[in-house]
Symmetry: C2
Subunit: 145 residues, 2 copies
């Protein structure tokens, strides 16, 4: 595959409202989306925009908090109560081609390809096959979101 844009860094947070205040007041983020639930992933999600070069879109910080104790993010927070970096998400032009390439490399893909928080198809690859990093592969969104 050809490495695409780093769409976002996924960050687990124990308290979504406190995390939004942190990125707004401490870090000075100017564009933060309204949080929304993704029940099929067991998480509440919110995106913090960072500026790209020359004012273009930059890589986002995706804040994730668990909707229940069964959420994968709840397990992460049990080990990291303050929160921390959870995954990296890279864009690809075509999700099916990327999935076939990862399968051909014997990378363990976690579950089916599904629609992610940006409305385009995504899948996750196991951190043990990705240098210890849970990696999301996302088909490039048609618009910024």
């Amino acid at each position: 595959m050809k490495l695409g844009r780093l769409n976002h860094v996924g960050v687990a947070v124990p308290d979504m409202d406190a995390a939004i205040s942190f990125y707004r007041d401490t870090m000075g983020a100017e564009v933060i989306t309204e949080p929304f639930d993704m029940p099929e992933q067991g998480v509440k999600v919110c995106f913090v925009d960072t500026p790209g070069l020359d004012g273009s879109w930059g890589t986002q910080v995706e804040l994730l908090s668990p909707l229940s104790e069964e959420s994968p993010v709840a397990g992460f927070l049990a080990k990291n109560p303050l929160g921390g970096q959870h995954h990296l998400c890279f864009e690809v032009p075509d999700i099916d081609t990327a999935r076939s390439e990862f399968e051909a490399m014997d990378k363990r893909i976690l579950g089916p390809t599904r629609i992610g928080a940006h409305g385009t198809p995504i899948f996750f690859v196991h951190p043990k096959d990705m240098n210890g990093i849970l990696t999301e592969i996302m088909e490039t969104p048609k618009a910024h979101g």
Copy 2:
């Protein structure tokens, strides 16, 4: 402060050569710098470029491997033998202003401001004061590096 560009995601790796092969062959990165030593930080460093929007510079992945057992990255790898996400680095226009702002917010800054891998001044802020994320603040480089 005003949130600047996400300059890079710092990633700890146990084997620099293997990590470079992974980003080149598995992930399809096309621009990877030669690794170089930063003895004062105790690390070997290498940058993987990811594309920004419309071909501009994107956020880099900074690969870090320890130069000795005393390196902070060695401690991280002892807990995460496969490697993993180590820190986030955000740009600011002026490092002294940013340092004063973080000090005024009672954030614990780790050591003096020093010259980082891109040749501009940087400092690190303690993860316990930053939602569990070790955070590097970097004065925006004059050129891509």
